[in-house]
């Protein structure tokens, strides 16, 4: 029954007959449903609990890492099993009842939310890469964090495992409150892990900032949840997506009567997306993510690049039907995504800290994912999530290996020629693979996924979507530039390096050791000592193994594009039975306008063009977008390749190596300077502004934080002087009166007893009067 309902969703024959009456029959019994699926979230939770045990027992070995890796690997295997045995039929596995309050028997007269898990292709897809990457990165971290064994090691792996649990709840949850639980749960783990080096004030500030900025988004999400409940009367996905109401809205949009969808329903996605923008670091709530790089690098790779930040994309993919019926939701998402992609890329181009560059790159790529979903290329958007997860995790882990080996050095002006260093080959190759993916070099995974989004940007009609296409294309070129800027600077060229601030402890974990006072001086002390030979220590087995594995996976991910080409790759085949189904597959002949949003396959040909024309504001020119007169789907492969090549070429010219190609590519002898400096100077203050992140943080500070801070002090003063002062004044009158009346007696208890007696007397008096 559920199959019918869920399969029919993309097909828009939303059955009003079955399932719509309630969730009762939809929830499978333990016996019928694959109950072991519950182990996927529970295993990481168990690991977290065991790690708490390790902390209590004072374990001073790598045991917590082993516990975490084993349980995450098991969770991954179970996810893979769930995927392999998945019949295409959406399953709901309920752990236990969480919220349950009813005030009537009618629909919407109960607030119910279970600890239940919604197994469909979309959630499985997400869980596959979440658990897989988490296992790999935990392995990496077991070596990366080894300086902290016995100190923060237990704490680190506790939060790490708890993160995977929260993420599982977010992705697998079968209702909005479970999503919210995971949503804030990952926020907590992010908070704990960003603030891992808690003696560093920047880390503490960054952790706090991440949590608070996310809370702003969470308020939007909460209101979205409330609206959904009020409007649809349920919080559970199964009921929501099979509701007659939603089906009615879809029908209305399909029939060209988009205006029939009530305002309330149109507002739901608007509020949900605020939550998505917070968690996925989109403008204007992106400011926390770059600062989050204060956390240990494995955390940056897993949480702040590959998994947690894609939660917003997941939210939109999960609620795709709800977004589609809203007139403004997707255009807003498209514009915000494109603008964020561009803005973050401009900042990324001007940074010198390689981890920050990767952070801004993440913000930028997330913008692509949002734009992809919003431009009706859900397959492209989700595919980009997947490919990005691999290559960005890889890039971060490579940066981490560099940071680990060079005593915390992250400044690309102080590192050069790592390719030629003994022991750094795996890292270099991994970095190269990550870079070509990110830059969109042809036939890489990143190329295919970005391409799908770019093509759709020129095809889909919407408010200013043509401009979005150009903006995204320009950003693709900028991405190629800043990506290879890092590569050329750090990995090729002359062998030069300066160790970072953490020299003698030779890692970024020094803050954990007892030198809370010494830290401030360290930086200076060791640049002075830079003369004494510093030996970078190259990564060992665990880190190299993980980097190699991820490199292979990042390359292989490209192959997914060719699995079931009729669905636009494996991702498309996964999505087509889920809520995030691509709304049309027949991209060649018909393109969606608002009225034709939900057309798929053959249906497209039956569409009456008149409907499209009714809605002039949604696409007055022929319903076919084009790229300079060509079919975007066909030419975008070449266009994006050319744009990427230009970006890489420019990076090579500006930051490239010397040697055989120096005459052609330009010469660079110093690690610290490059040809780019001259170019940058010609732009005047703009590069400086970009380096200072366009002063957005300062702007927010003056616009929000400072006034609030002043207001708080004013409130505090008012509270003391006015609100309390008034009370004191009132309090003074009877006291003065009392002194007058009873000099020498101010015993409060005495007064109380008197009043009490008075009160009783009043009662008695009334009683007498009435009774008498």
């Amino acid at each position: 029954m559920l199959t019918d309902v869920m399969n029919s969703l993309p097909m828009l024959t939303l059955a009003a007959a079955d399932g719509a009456k309630g969730s009762g029959p939809l929830i499978e019994s333990w016996a019928a449903a694959p109950g072991w699926v519950l182990l996927i979230p529970l295993l990481p939770l168990l690991a977290a609990v065991l790690n708490v045990g390790c902390a209590i027992a004072g374990v001073k070995t790598k045991l917590p890492a082993v516990i975490t890796i084993v349980s995450l690997a098991a969770a991954f295997v179970l996810t893979a099993l769930a995927y392999l045995s998945f019949s295409g039929e959406t399953r709901i596995v309920t752990g236990w009842s969480w919220f349950d309050l009813s005030w009537g028997d009618g629909p919407g007269q109960s607030m119910k939310a279970d600890f239940g898990f919604y197994i469909d292709n979309l959630s499985l897809l997400w869980m596959l890469f979440v658990t897989g990457l988490a296992t790999l990165i935990a392995t990496y971290a077991s070596e990366y964090m080894e300086h902290d064994v016995g100190q923060g090691y237990n704490r680190f792996f506790f939060a790490f495992a708890l993160f995977v649990f929260s993420m599982s709840c977010l992705v697998l949850g079968d209702n909005l409150l479970m999503l919210y639980l995971g949503w804030e749960g990952v926020g907590l783990c992010s908070y704990l892990l960003i603030g891992y080096f808690y003696k560093k004030p920047e880390a503490v500030a960054a952790a706090k900032k991440a949590f608070i900025v996310n809370r702003i988004g969470d308020l939007g999400l909460a209101i979205g949840v409330f609206l959904t409940f009020v409007h649809f009367g349920t919080l559970e996905y199964a009921e929501l997506f099979s509701s007659e109401q939603l089906a009615g809205y879809i029908d209305a949009v399909k029939a060209g009567n988009a205006g029939d969808v009530p305002l309330m329903a149109q507002l739901i996605p608007v509020f949900l997306m605020i939550g998505a923008f917070g968690k996925s670091a989109q403008f204007p709530l992106y400011v926390w993510l770059p600062d989050a790089m204060e956390g240990p690098t494995p955390v940056s790779a897993l949480i702040h690049a590959a998994t947690m930040v894609t939660a917003g994309v997941y939210l939109i993919a999960r609620f795709y039907p709800v977004f589609l019926v809203s007139e403004w939701a997707l255009p807003v998402v498209a514009w915000i995504g494109a603008f964020t992609a561009f803005l973050a890329a401009t900042i990324g181009m001007a940074q010198f800290d390689i981890k920050r560059i990767m952070a801004y790159s993440t913000v930028s790529q997330l913008g692509y994912m949002f734009a992809g979903l919003a431009l009706l290329s859900s397959t492209g958007g989700v595919f980009h999530v997947l490919t990005h997860a691999f290559f960005k995790a890889l890039l971060f882990l490579c940066c981490g290996a560099v940071m680990h080996g060079f005593a915390g050095q992250l400044d690309l002006r102080k590192l050069s020629g790592l390719w030629s260093q003994p022991g750094w080959r795996v890292v270099s190759v991994g970095m190269l693979i990550g870079c070509i993916n990110l830059a969109g070099v042809p036939f890489t995974a990143g190329y295919f996924s970005k391409d799908m989004i770019l093509a759709e940007a020129f095809v889909t009609q919407g408010p200013g979507y043509g401009l979005i296409g150009w903006l995204l294309l320009l950003t693709a070129g900028m991405t190629a530039y800043y990506t290879f800027r890092v590569f050329f600077r750090v990995f090729v060229g002359p062998v030069r390096y300066e160790p970072g601030d953490d020299d003698h402890g030779s890692s970024d974990h020094d803050h954990e050791h007892d030198q809370s006072d010494a830290h401030g001086h360290d930086g200076h002390a060791h640049t002075d000592h830079a003369q004494h030979p510093f030996h970078p220590h190259p990564p060992r087995l665990a880190i190299n193994g993980v980097l190699a594995t991820l490199s292979v996976l990042a390359v292989l991910a490209a192959g997914l594009y060719f699995v079931t080409p009729e669905n636009k790759g494996w991702v498309g085949s996964m999505l087509k039975d889920s809520t995030a189904a691509q709304v049309y597959f027949d991209g060649e002949s018909d393109h969606p306008t608002r009225a034709g949003l939900f057309l798929i396959d053959g249906d497209a040909h039956h569409r009456d063009h008149a409907h499209a024309d009714d809605h002039a504001d949604h696409g007055e020119h022929a319903a076919h977008g084009s790229f300079l007169g060509f079919d975007p789907h066909k030419v975008m492969y070449y266009v994006s390749a050319i744009v990427g090549a230009i970006g890489i070429g420019f990076a090579a010219w500006a930051h490239g190596p010397r040697g055989a190609v120096s005459g052609f590519l330009g010469d660079r002898t110093e690690a610290a300077t490059s040809r780019m400096d001259a170019v940058a100077r010609s732009f005047g203050p703009i590069p400086k502004w970009a380096e200072h992140k366009w002063y957005v943080d300062e702007f927010y500070h003056f616009l929000f934080r400072a006034p609030l801070w002043v207001l708080s002090h004013i409130f505090h003063a008012i509270d003391k002087l006015l609100v309390d002062g008034l009370v004191n004044l009132i309090g003074y009158v009877p006291r003065a009166f009392g002194r007058l009346a009873q000099p020498g007696q101010s015993g409060v208890l005495h007064g109380y007893a008197l009043s009490m007696a008075g009160g009783v007397a009043v009662i008695l008096l009334v009683v007498m009067m009435v009774a008498g």
């Binding site: 969480w98 919407g108 809370r215 909460a222 649809f232 209305a252 009530p262 809370s516 609100v723 009662i763």
Partner: protein
């Protein structure tokens, strides 16, 4: 009988403490409170939750029959759960005071026990006079605890606490007297002080009369909650009170105010509540944001948590005046969960204070490196307080907000909004109260940032405590574990609690059926789903 036992046992033990020459005060008190916990547990088991809305375990004894006065005790599920909370906090307060209280030990524990009896009496009383006596009587032990065992400014704080809340209660008394008189005049001079009977009569009053009753009751209960702008006694009292005093104050005494609103204001004056709910809602929302922002600039950590209580209890009152099931149930949940998380925060601050003798976050901080156990618990309870899903704070907070959001004339023509209910608050109240969640994250994380993270700071001349280790000892950990477990269990599995309070909450909400007008503005909103022909609807959409 269990309820009587719960009230009498601490009283008897208080007497034992006072008249026992050997001075084993703390052991007697511990024993009394632990036995109370057992009795409370038995009461929970014996209570028939399938009849949760009914008064059970009824004890009635004639008191002054001529006046209709009865010693009437009984519990419904809400009362019982609040009693359970009180009883649970009992041993935590007693054991938590072992090293903190050094002088007049006998008096201290005796009054602590008396306070427990009085609080249980408030929740169990089903006779108005008994209720009022217990309600007022809680002031005396608390006054003594603050004024004898508090810190530097204790006299002023105690006096202010006493006079402020007492003044409010006297006005509430006038309201009660009027209700009693009204009932008597209605029933032909047959006197009763039975709460249920009084409620039935009160609901028959004219709206204007109800308005006065509501005003009178609120002056008593709002001060106790405390609702903005009558909250200023609280930060002072909290800051100066001894740890156990703060725990009880935050954990139970404030709930007397919200319980009073729930038990008296809501059922006695429904028409007035409907009329004044927006006003009370505005005060709650202002309190949430205003107190939250004040928290942000505090340097005294105990004052910060005290103001956070003002902010948090704003959610609780907001849920109550949302007068729908989700809101009121959320509010009742809030009463219980706030006792756990904020009570624990006060307890933890007390443990820190015992070691460093300062509450200033400028002087002490960065305890993560020296007190890892304390710090772990601190982060945990901060997260519970901030409303992290999976912990108790979330359940109640989200329900209060959801109830507030729902409480609006959503139900348009054709039932376009099946999840909406009638009410007089609505999305804007929920939105502005929701900003309180952001503010809460701000001040609580700043507190955590200063107290737990960062570089270790200790006040000048700090030396190790004679009896206490640097980090928490087993006794202290043992106190925190039940609270932490409570936060976790009620966060992950609140269903039993929700099921338990469902019936009485629905009964209270039922008084409001038909009282709330359906707003006109929603009438034009129709659902597409319920219309057969979309074309006829074209253009009528709402935008």
């Amino acid at each position: 009988m269990l309820i009587v036992l719960l009230i009498l046992l601490p009283l008897i033990c208080a007497g034992l403490i006072v008249f026992n020459p050997k001075g084993q005060a703390k052991y007697i008190a511990t024993g009394a409170t632990l036995v109370s916990v057992v009795i409370g547990a038995i009461a929970l088991i014996q209570f028939d939750f399938s009849q949760a809305a009914l008064d059970q375990m009824v004890v009635k004894a004639p008191w002054v029959p001529a006046l209709g006065l009865e010693l009437s005790l009984a519990v419904d599920s809400v009362s019982l759960l609040l009693i359970a909370l009180t009883v649970l906090l009992g041993p935590i307060c007693v054991i938590g005071s072992f090293t903190a209280v050094k002088h007049d030990v006998k008096t201290y524990y005796a009054w602590l026990l008396v306070l427990q009896s009085a609080m249980i009496g408030v929740f169990a009383a089903r006779d108005l006079v008994l209720f009022y006596i217990c309600f007022e009587f809680t002031l005396i032990p608390m006054y003594i605890l603050i004024s004898l065992y508090g810190s530097a400014n204790r006299k002023k704080a105690a006096t202010k606490f006493f006079l402020y809340t007492f003044t409010g209660s006297v006005i509430a008394l006038a309201g009660f007297v009027y209700v009693v008189w009204f009932h008597a005049s209605l029933e032909g001079n047959s006197w009763t002080f039975d709460l249920a009977a009084l409620g039935e009569s009160a609901r028959m009053m004219e709206p204007a009369q109800q308005g006065w009753i509501l005003l009178a009751l609120l002056s008593g209960f709002a001060v106790k909650v405390p609702l903005f702008p009558v909250h200023t006694w609280l930060p002072l009292a909290h800051t100066e009170a001894p740890t156990a005093g703060s725990v009880i104050l935050a954990g139970v005494l404030l709930k007397l105010g919200t319980y009073g609103i729930y038990k008296f204001a809501l059922p006695y004056a429904p028409e007035a509540v409907v009329e004044y709910a927006p006003l009370i809602g505005v005060l709650s929302v202002v309190g949430i944001v205003y107190a939250g922002l004040i928290c942000w600039v505090q340097t005294d950590v105990k004052k910060l948590v005290a103001y956070s209580s003002v902010s948090h209890l704003g959610f609780c009152v907001l849920g109550l005046v949302a007068i729908n099931s989700v809101g009121v149930a959320g509010s009742v949940m809030y009463m219980i969960s706030h006792g756990f998380s904020t009570g624990a925060l006060f307890l933890m601050i007390g443990m820190m204070y015992e070691r460093y003798h300062t509450r200033s976050m400028r002087e002490v901080g960065g305890l993560g490196s020296t007190m890892p156990v304390w710090s772990s618990f601190m982060v945990f309870f901060v997260m519970a307080s901030v409303g992290l899903p999976g912990l108790n704070g979330f359940v109640s907070e989200i329900m209060c907000l959801m109830g507030t959001f729902q409480s609006y004339g959503w139900t348009g023509e054709g039932g376009a909004h099946p999840g909406g209910t009638l009410g007089v608050l609505g999305p804007w109240f929920a939105f502005f109260a929701g900003t309180g969640m952001i503010v809460a994250a701000m001040y609580l994380l700043i507190m955590t940032g200063k107290m737990v993270w960062g570089k270790y700071r200790e006040p000048e001349g700090h030396h190790e405590h004679d009896e206490l280790p640097t980090d928490l000892n087993a006794r202290e950990i043992g106190l925190l574990i039940p609270l932490a477990a409570g936060c976790l269990i009620f966060g992950l599995y609140p269903k039993p609690l929700l099921n338990a309070i469902e019936a009485p909450v629905n009964e209270t909400v039922a008084y409001y059926e038909g009282l709330v007008p359906v707003p006109e503005l929603e009438a034009g909103m129709t659902t597409v789903a319920n219309e057969g022909d979309h074309d006829t609807e074209h253009g009528e959409g709402d935008h």
